[in-house]
Symmetry: C2
Subunit: 192 residues, 2 copies
DNA sequence: CGTTTAAACGGGGCATCGCTCCACTTAATG
DNA sequence: CATTAAGTGGAGCGATGCCCCGTTTAAACG
Protein backbone atom coordinates (compact mmCIF):
# COMPACT_ATOMS: atom_id res chain seq x y z
CA UNK A 1 0.00 0.00 0.00
CA UNK A 2 1.30 3.41 -0.96
CA UNK A 3 2.12 5.87 1.79
CA UNK A 4 -0.59 8.36 0.85
CA UNK A 5 -3.11 5.53 0.72
CA UNK A 6 -2.16 4.34 4.19
CA UNK A 7 -2.46 7.88 5.53
CA UNK A 8 -5.94 8.28 4.06
CA UNK A 9 -6.99 4.84 5.28
CA UNK A 10 -6.01 5.63 8.84
CA UNK A 11 -7.49 9.09 8.76
CA UNK A 12 -10.82 7.87 7.40
CA UNK A 13 -10.91 5.29 10.17
CA UNK A 14 -10.27 7.90 12.83
CA UNK A 15 -12.94 10.23 11.47
CA UNK A 16 -15.38 7.34 11.13
CA UNK A 17 -14.83 6.37 14.75
CA UNK A 18 -15.81 9.88 15.82
CA UNK A 19 -18.77 10.26 13.52
CA UNK A 20 -20.20 6.81 14.19
CA UNK A 21 -20.00 7.45 17.91
CA UNK A 22 -22.15 10.52 17.46
CA UNK A 23 -24.59 9.49 14.76
CA UNK A 24 -24.68 5.72 15.06
CA UNK A 25 -23.79 3.00 12.60
CA UNK A 26 -25.92 4.44 9.82
CA UNK A 27 -24.18 7.77 9.69
CA UNK A 28 -23.73 9.17 6.19
CA UNK A 29 -20.67 7.78 4.44
CA UNK A 30 -20.50 10.97 2.41
CA UNK A 31 -20.19 12.95 5.62
CA UNK A 32 -17.36 10.75 6.76
CA UNK A 33 -15.54 11.22 3.46
CA UNK A 34 -16.08 14.97 3.52
CA UNK A 35 -14.98 15.32 7.11
CA UNK A 36 -11.91 13.24 6.35
CA UNK A 37 -11.13 15.53 3.43
CA UNK A 38 -11.24 12.77 0.82
CA UNK A 39 -13.53 12.02 -2.09
CA UNK A 40 -16.33 9.49 -2.07
CA UNK A 41 -14.33 7.27 -4.36
CA UNK A 42 -11.44 7.06 -1.95
CA UNK A 43 -13.62 6.03 0.95
CA UNK A 44 -15.42 3.39 -1.07
CA UNK A 45 -12.21 1.87 -2.42
CA UNK A 46 -10.81 1.42 1.08
CA UNK A 47 -14.16 0.30 2.48
CA UNK A 48 -16.40 -1.02 -0.29
CA UNK A 49 -19.45 -1.24 1.96
CA UNK A 50 -20.55 0.17 5.30
CA UNK A 51 -20.00 -3.24 6.83
CA UNK A 52 -16.38 -3.28 5.75
CA UNK A 53 -15.91 -0.01 7.60
CA UNK A 54 -17.64 -1.35 10.68
CA UNK A 55 -15.52 -4.46 10.56
CA UNK A 56 -12.32 -2.42 10.51
CA UNK A 57 -13.55 -0.40 13.48
CA UNK A 58 -14.68 -3.37 15.55
CA UNK A 59 -12.01 -5.93 14.69
CA UNK A 60 -9.66 -5.10 17.57
CA UNK A 61 -12.50 -4.96 20.06
CA UNK A 62 -13.70 -8.40 19.01
CA UNK A 63 -10.23 -9.82 19.23
CA UNK A 64 -9.92 -8.43 22.73
CA UNK A 65 -13.24 -10.02 23.61
CA UNK A 66 -12.08 -13.40 22.37
CA UNK A 67 -8.87 -13.08 24.35
CA UNK A 68 -10.86 -12.09 27.41
CA UNK A 69 -12.92 -15.26 27.07
CA UNK A 70 -9.68 -17.21 27.13
CA UNK A 71 -8.65 -15.57 30.39
CA UNK A 72 -12.03 -16.07 31.99
CA UNK A 73 -11.99 -19.74 31.03
CA UNK A 74 -9.31 -20.14 33.69
CA UNK A 75 -11.43 -18.52 36.38
CA UNK A 76 -12.75 -20.97 38.95
CA UNK A 77 -16.28 -19.68 39.11
CA UNK A 78 -17.57 -20.65 35.69
CA UNK A 79 -20.90 -18.93 36.23
CA UNK A 80 -19.43 -15.57 37.13
CA UNK A 81 -16.95 -15.87 34.28
CA UNK A 82 -19.79 -16.33 31.81
CA UNK A 83 -21.75 -13.53 33.39
CA UNK A 84 -19.03 -10.92 33.25
CA UNK A 85 -18.05 -11.92 29.73
CA UNK A 86 -21.68 -11.49 28.70
CA UNK A 87 -21.65 -8.03 30.15
CA UNK A 88 -18.49 -7.12 28.27
CA UNK A 89 -19.77 -8.63 25.05
CA UNK A 90 -22.88 -6.51 25.23
CA UNK A 91 -20.85 -3.38 25.85
CA UNK A 92 -18.69 -4.11 22.81
CA UNK A 93 -21.55 -5.01 20.50
CA UNK A 94 -23.06 -1.75 21.62
CA UNK A 95 -20.04 0.41 20.77
CA UNK A 96 -21.93 2.18 18.04
CA UNK A 97 -25.66 2.66 17.81
CA UNK A 98 -27.23 0.29 15.32
CA UNK A 99 -24.35 -2.14 14.79
CA UNK A 100 -26.29 -5.08 16.15
CA UNK A 101 -28.61 -5.58 13.20
CA UNK A 102 -25.82 -5.85 10.59
CA UNK A 103 -23.90 -8.10 12.95
CA UNK A 104 -26.79 -10.50 13.32
CA UNK A 105 -27.34 -10.50 9.58
CA UNK A 106 -23.64 -11.23 9.07
CA UNK A 107 -23.56 -14.43 11.08
CA UNK A 108 -25.26 -16.39 8.33
CA UNK A 109 -23.90 -14.31 5.46
CA UNK A 110 -20.43 -15.58 4.68
CA UNK A 111 -19.88 -12.82 2.16
CA UNK A 112 -20.26 -10.12 4.78
CA UNK A 113 -17.14 -8.39 6.01
CA UNK A 114 -18.47 -8.81 9.54
CA UNK A 115 -19.00 -12.56 9.25
CA UNK A 116 -15.84 -13.90 10.83
CA UNK A 117 -15.99 -11.38 13.65
CA UNK A 118 -19.45 -12.61 14.57
CA UNK A 119 -18.49 -16.26 14.34
CA UNK A 120 -15.53 -15.60 16.64
CA UNK A 121 -17.83 -13.91 19.10
CA UNK A 122 -20.25 -16.82 19.14
CA UNK A 123 -17.39 -19.28 19.50
CA UNK A 124 -15.92 -17.47 22.50
CA UNK A 125 -19.29 -17.35 24.22
CA UNK A 126 -20.02 -20.99 23.49
CA UNK A 127 -16.80 -22.02 25.22
CA UNK A 128 -17.67 -20.23 28.44
CA UNK A 129 -21.23 -21.50 28.30
CA UNK A 130 -20.20 -25.12 27.90
CA UNK A 131 -17.84 -24.87 30.84
CA UNK A 132 -20.59 -23.47 33.04
CA UNK A 133 -22.91 -26.22 31.82
CA UNK A 134 -20.35 -28.93 32.57
CA UNK A 135 -20.25 -27.69 36.15
CA UNK A 136 -24.03 -27.70 36.27
CA UNK A 137 -24.22 -23.93 36.67
CA UNK A 138 -25.90 -23.02 33.39
CA UNK A 139 -29.04 -24.30 31.72
CA UNK A 140 -28.15 -27.40 29.75
CA UNK A 141 -30.67 -26.68 27.01
CA UNK A 142 -28.71 -23.88 25.38
CA UNK A 143 -25.85 -23.58 22.92
CA UNK A 144 -23.66 -20.90 21.42
CA UNK A 145 -26.37 -19.82 19.02
CA UNK A 146 -28.83 -19.22 21.82
CA UNK A 147 -26.26 -17.22 23.71
CA UNK A 148 -25.45 -15.18 20.62
CA UNK A 149 -29.13 -14.48 20.14
CA UNK A 150 -29.52 -13.40 23.76
CA UNK A 151 -26.53 -11.08 23.55
CA UNK A 152 -27.96 -9.61 20.37
CA UNK A 153 -31.38 -9.07 21.88
CA UNK A 154 -29.95 -7.43 24.99
CA UNK A 155 -27.63 -5.23 22.96
CA UNK A 156 -30.53 -4.22 20.73
CA UNK A 157 -32.58 -3.42 23.79
CA UNK A 158 -29.85 -1.21 25.17
CA UNK A 159 -29.80 0.53 21.79
CA UNK A 160 -33.42 1.68 21.91
CA UNK A 161 -33.52 4.94 23.86
CA UNK A 162 -36.94 4.29 25.45
CA UNK A 163 -35.79 0.90 26.72
CA UNK A 164 -32.40 1.92 28.08
CA UNK A 165 -33.64 2.41 31.66
CA UNK A 166 -34.81 -1.22 31.70
CA UNK A 167 -31.75 -2.75 30.06
CA UNK A 168 -29.80 -3.57 33.22
CA UNK A 169 -32.80 -4.95 35.01
CA UNK A 170 -33.72 -7.20 32.11
CA UNK A 171 -30.15 -8.34 31.83
CA UNK A 172 -30.37 -9.49 35.44
CA UNK A 173 -33.65 -11.29 34.82
CA UNK A 174 -32.31 -13.12 31.81
CA UNK A 175 -29.07 -13.92 33.59
CA UNK A 176 -31.20 -15.58 36.26
CA UNK A 177 -32.77 -17.74 33.61
CA UNK A 178 -29.46 -18.76 32.04
CA UNK A 179 -27.69 -19.32 35.36
CA UNK A 180 -30.45 -20.52 37.67
CA UNK A 181 -30.07 -20.55 41.42
CA UNK A 182 -27.51 -17.78 41.69
CA UNK A 183 -27.40 -15.46 44.70
CA UNK A 184 -29.38 -12.29 44.25
CA UNK A 185 -31.60 -14.20 41.86
CA UNK A 186 -35.37 -14.54 41.67
CA UNK A 187 -36.69 -12.84 44.81
CA UNK A 188 -38.63 -15.09 47.14
CA UNK A 189 -42.03 -15.72 45.69
CA UNK A 190 -41.63 -19.47 45.47
CA UNK A 191 -44.58 -19.75 47.88
CA UNK A 192 -46.87 -19.06 44.89
CA UNK B 1 -64.34 12.69 2.99
CA UNK B 2 -65.20 12.64 -0.68
CA UNK B 3 -66.04 9.32 -2.30
CA UNK B 4 -62.99 9.26 -4.58
CA UNK B 5 -60.79 10.07 -1.62
CA UNK B 6 -62.22 7.21 0.41
CA UNK B 7 -61.70 4.84 -2.50
CA UNK B 8 -58.06 5.86 -2.82
CA UNK B 9 -57.54 5.66 0.93
CA UNK B 10 -58.85 2.11 1.09
CA UNK B 11 -57.01 1.01 -2.00
CA UNK B 12 -53.69 2.40 -0.77
CA UNK B 13 -54.19 0.57 2.49
CA UNK B 14 -54.86 -2.72 0.71
CA UNK B 15 -51.82 -2.36 -1.52
CA UNK B 16 -49.69 -1.35 1.45
CA UNK B 17 -50.77 -4.45 3.34
CA UNK B 18 -49.55 -6.62 0.50
CA UNK B 19 -46.31 -4.80 -0.14
CA UNK B 20 -45.36 -4.49 3.52
CA UNK B 21 -45.93 -8.19 3.97
CA UNK B 22 -43.43 -8.89 1.24
CA UNK B 23 -40.79 -6.24 1.74
CA UNK B 24 -41.16 -5.35 5.41
CA UNK B 25 -42.01 -2.10 7.13
CA UNK B 26 -39.40 -0.12 5.25
CA UNK B 27 -40.77 -0.86 1.82
CA UNK B 28 -40.64 2.04 -0.59
CA UNK B 29 -43.59 4.40 -0.21
CA UNK B 30 -43.17 5.36 -3.84
CA UNK B 31 -43.67 1.75 -4.82
CA UNK B 32 -46.85 1.58 -2.80
CA UNK B 33 -48.18 4.70 -4.46
CA UNK B 34 -47.25 3.47 -7.92
CA UNK B 35 -48.74 0.05 -7.35
CA UNK B 36 -51.91 1.66 -6.04
CA UNK B 37 -52.08 3.79 -9.17
CA UNK B 38 -51.96 7.10 -7.29
CA UNK B 39 -49.43 9.89 -7.11
CA UNK B 40 -46.93 10.42 -4.34
CA UNK B 41 -48.85 13.43 -3.17
CA UNK B 42 -52.03 11.45 -2.66
CA UNK B 43 -50.35 8.82 -0.54
CA UNK B 44 -48.62 11.40 1.62
CA UNK B 45 -51.76 13.41 2.25
CA UNK B 46 -53.62 10.36 3.47
CA UNK B 47 -50.60 9.09 5.39
CA UNK B 48 -48.19 11.95 6.13
CA UNK B 49 -45.49 9.63 7.41
CA UNK B 50 -44.63 5.95 7.22
CA UNK B 51 -45.70 5.60 10.83
CA UNK B 52 -49.16 6.92 10.04
CA UNK B 53 -49.51 4.21 7.43
CA UNK B 54 -48.31 1.57 9.85
CA UNK B 55 -50.71 2.83 12.46
CA UNK B 56 -53.64 2.51 10.09
CA UNK B 57 -52.58 -1.03 9.24
CA UNK B 58 -52.02 -2.14 12.82
CA UNK B 59 -54.81 -0.30 14.63
CA UNK B 60 -57.40 -3.06 14.46
CA UNK B 61 -54.88 -5.71 15.44
CA UNK B 62 -53.89 -3.71 18.49
CA UNK B 63 -57.48 -3.16 19.47
CA UNK B 64 -58.09 -6.89 19.20
CA UNK B 65 -55.08 -7.49 21.39
CA UNK B 66 -56.39 -5.15 24.05
CA UNK B 67 -59.77 -6.83 23.94
CA UNK B 68 -58.08 -10.21 24.20
CA UNK B 69 -56.29 -9.06 27.35
CA UNK B 70 -59.69 -8.21 28.79
CA UNK B 71 -60.96 -11.72 28.12
CA UNK B 72 -57.87 -13.37 29.50
CA UNK B 73 -58.13 -11.29 32.68
CA UNK B 74 -61.14 -13.43 33.52
CA UNK B 75 -59.23 -16.68 33.08
CA UNK B 76 -58.48 -18.47 36.35
CA UNK B 77 -54.88 -19.32 35.62
CA UNK B 78 -53.28 -15.90 35.66
CA UNK B 79 -49.89 -17.25 34.62
CA UNK B 80 -51.14 -19.03 31.55
CA UNK B 81 -53.25 -16.03 30.65
CA UNK B 82 -50.20 -13.80 30.69
CA UNK B 83 -48.20 -16.35 28.77
CA UNK B 84 -50.62 -16.82 25.93
CA UNK B 85 -51.24 -13.09 25.67
CA UNK B 86 -47.49 -12.56 25.40
CA UNK B 87 -47.39 -15.04 22.58
CA UNK B 88 -50.19 -13.27 20.75
CA UNK B 89 -48.66 -9.86 21.35
CA UNK B 90 -45.41 -10.98 19.80
CA UNK B 91 -47.21 -12.38 16.80
CA UNK B 92 -49.02 -9.08 16.27
CA UNK B 93 -45.98 -6.86 16.78
CA UNK B 94 -44.34 -9.10 14.24
CA UNK B 95 -47.01 -8.71 11.56
CA UNK B 96 -44.62 -6.85 9.29
CA UNK B 97 -40.86 -7.12 9.24
CA UNK B 98 -39.22 -4.18 10.96
CA UNK B 99 -42.23 -2.66 12.69
CA UNK B 100 -40.78 -3.17 16.12
CA UNK B 101 -38.17 -0.43 15.99
CA UNK B 102 -40.62 2.37 15.11
CA UNK B 103 -43.02 1.02 17.73
CA UNK B 104 -40.44 1.18 20.46
CA UNK B 105 -39.43 4.66 19.39
CA UNK B 106 -43.09 5.70 19.45
CA UNK B 107 -43.71 4.82 23.06
CA UNK B 108 -41.86 7.88 24.30
CA UNK B 109 -42.68 10.05 21.31
CA UNK B 110 -46.12 11.49 21.84
CA UNK B 111 -46.13 13.08 18.40
CA UNK B 112 -45.83 9.70 16.69
CA UNK B 113 -48.90 8.26 15.04
CA UNK B 114 -48.04 4.95 16.65
CA UNK B 115 -47.83 6.36 20.17
CA UNK B 116 -51.26 5.56 21.50
CA UNK B 117 -51.24 2.08 20.00
CA UNK B 118 -48.05 1.31 21.89
CA UNK B 119 -49.31 2.76 25.13
CA UNK B 120 -52.44 0.64 24.84
CA UNK B 121 -50.33 -2.43 24.29
CA UNK B 122 -48.21 -1.74 27.35
CA UNK B 123 -51.32 -1.05 29.41
CA UNK B 124 -52.95 -4.31 28.43
CA UNK B 125 -49.82 -6.28 29.27
CA UNK B 126 -49.36 -4.50 32.57
CA UNK B 127 -52.84 -5.51 33.66
CA UNK B 128 -52.23 -9.20 33.07
CA UNK B 129 -48.81 -8.98 34.68
CA UNK B 130 -50.12 -7.36 37.84
CA UNK B 131 -52.79 -9.99 38.19
CA UNK B 132 -50.21 -12.76 37.90
CA UNK B 133 -48.03 -10.96 40.40
CA UNK B 134 -50.89 -10.58 42.87
CA UNK B 135 -51.33 -14.35 42.79
CA UNK B 136 -47.59 -14.80 43.32
CA UNK B 137 -47.12 -16.38 39.91
CA UNK B 138 -44.98 -13.73 38.25
CA UNK B 139 -41.79 -12.03 39.34
CA UNK B 140 -42.72 -9.11 41.57
CA UNK B 141 -39.81 -6.98 40.38
CA UNK B 142 -41.27 -6.15 36.99
CA UNK B 143 -43.75 -3.67 35.59
CA UNK B 144 -45.49 -2.91 32.33
CA UNK B 145 -42.41 -1.22 30.91
CA UNK B 146 -40.28 -4.28 31.53
CA UNK B 147 -42.87 -6.45 29.87
CA UNK B 148 -43.10 -4.12 26.92
CA UNK B 149 -39.33 -4.22 26.58
CA UNK B 150 -39.32 -8.01 26.70
CA UNK B 151 -42.02 -8.27 24.08
CA UNK B 152 -40.06 -5.87 21.90
CA UNK B 153 -36.83 -7.79 22.29
CA UNK B 154 -38.48 -11.10 21.51
CA UNK B 155 -40.31 -9.68 18.52
CA UNK B 156 -37.08 -8.16 17.27
CA UNK B 157 -35.38 -11.50 17.70
CA UNK B 158 -38.04 -13.25 15.68
CA UNK B 159 -37.51 -10.59 13.02
CA UNK B 160 -33.84 -11.40 12.42
CA UNK B 161 -33.69 -14.29 9.94
CA UNK B 162 -30.59 -15.90 11.46
CA UNK B 163 -32.17 -15.93 14.90
CA UNK B 164 -35.61 -17.21 13.93
CA UNK B 165 -34.79 -20.87 14.70
CA UNK B 166 -33.98 -19.85 18.30
CA UNK B 167 -36.91 -17.55 18.86
CA UNK B 168 -39.33 -20.08 20.35
CA UNK B 169 -36.73 -21.61 22.58
CA UNK B 170 -35.64 -18.26 23.94
CA UNK B 171 -39.24 -17.29 24.49
CA UNK B 172 -39.58 -20.35 26.70
CA UNK B 173 -36.42 -19.51 28.63
CA UNK B 174 -37.52 -15.95 29.26
CA UNK B 175 -41.03 -17.08 30.15
CA UNK B 176 -39.42 -19.28 32.79
CA UNK B 177 -37.72 -16.23 34.22
CA UNK B 178 -40.89 -14.13 34.28
CA UNK B 179 -43.12 -16.92 35.60
CA UNK B 180 -40.78 -18.97 37.79
CA UNK B 181 -41.61 -22.50 38.89
CA UNK B 182 -43.93 -23.37 36.02
CA UNK B 183 -44.19 -26.92 34.73
CA UNK B 184 -41.86 -27.68 31.87
CA UNK B 185 -39.54 -25.04 33.27
CA UNK B 186 -35.85 -25.08 34.04
CA UNK B 187 -34.74 -28.67 33.56
CA UNK B 188 -33.27 -30.29 36.65
CA UNK B 189 -29.80 -29.05 37.24
CA UNK B 190 -30.48 -27.58 40.66
CA UNK B 191 -27.91 -30.00 42.04
CA UNK B 192 -25.16 -27.66 40.81
C1' DC C 1 18.11 13.11 -11.19
C1' DG C 2 14.59 12.48 -14.76
C1' DT C 3 11.24 9.04 -16.71
C1' DT C 4 7.89 6.00 -16.44
C1' DT C 5 3.85 3.62 -14.72
C1' DA C 6 0.58 1.77 -11.93
C1' DA C 7 -1.66 2.89 -7.79
C1' DA C 8 -4.46 6.23 -5.68
C1' DC C 9 -7.37 10.10 -5.99
C1' DG C 10 -11.86 12.89 -6.01
C1' DG C 11 -15.95 14.32 -7.59
C1' DG C 12 -19.56 14.13 -11.10
C1' DG C 13 -23.24 10.98 -12.15
C1' DC C 14 -26.98 7.53 -11.37
C1' DA C 15 -30.85 5.57 -9.25
C1' DT C 16 -33.45 5.79 -5.21
C1' DC C 17 -35.48 7.58 -1.03
C1' DG C 18 -39.16 10.49 1.89
C1' DC C 19 -41.50 14.45 1.51
C1' DT C 20 -43.30 19.21 -0.37
C1' DC C 21 -45.56 22.14 -3.49
C1' DC C 22 -48.87 23.66 -6.60
C1' DA C 23 -51.41 23.91 -11.12
C1' DC C 24 -54.99 21.15 -12.41
C1' DT C 25 -59.30 18.01 -12.06
C1' DT C 26 -63.52 16.53 -10.17
C1' DA C 27 -67.20 15.39 -6.83
C1' DA C 28 -70.83 17.39 -4.55
C1' DT C 29 -74.01 21.17 -3.54
C1' DG C 30 -77.62 24.87 -4.33
C1' DC D 1 -75.59 23.98 -14.73
C1' DA D 2 -72.51 26.87 -12.21
C1' DT D 3 -69.74 27.24 -8.27
C1' DT D 4 -66.21 25.85 -5.15
C1' DA D 5 -63.60 23.43 -2.10
C1' DA D 6 -61.68 18.96 -1.73
C1' DG D 7 -58.80 15.95 -3.99
C1' DT D 8 -55.15 14.75 -7.27
C1' DG D 9 -50.50 13.53 -9.28
C1' DG D 10 -46.12 14.39 -10.67
C1' DA D 11 -42.22 17.61 -10.97
C1' DG D 12 -38.84 19.01 -7.80
C1' DC D 13 -35.66 19.14 -3.54
C1' DG D 14 -32.06 17.50 -0.77
C1' DA D 15 -29.94 13.42 0.65
C1' DT D 16 -28.42 8.67 0.32
C1' DG D 17 -24.96 4.53 -1.25
C1' DC D 18 -22.23 3.32 -4.75
C1' DC D 19 -19.86 3.49 -9.64
C1' DC D 20 -16.97 5.38 -13.12
C1' DC D 21 -13.20 7.49 -15.08
C1' DG D 22 -10.10 11.47 -16.23
C1' DT D 23 -6.44 13.32 -13.47
C1' DT D 24 -2.69 13.39 -10.04
C1' DT D 25 1.22 11.50 -7.64
C1' DA D 26 4.22 8.22 -5.11
C1' DA D 27 7.87 5.48 -5.94
C1' DA D 28 10.76 2.25 -8.61
C1' DC D 29 14.26 2.18 -12.28
C1' DG D 30 18.00 3.52 -15.70
Amino acid sequence: MRSDARKNYDHILAVARDLLSEDGADASLRDIARKAGVGDGTLHRHFPTREALLEALLRTRFDALTARAGELARCEKADEALLSWLREAIVVTHSYKGVIAPMVAAITDETSALHSSCVDLRQAGAGLLERAQAKGLARPDMDGNDLFALISALAWLADQPPLVPRADHLFAIIADAVLPGRTGGTPGNEAA
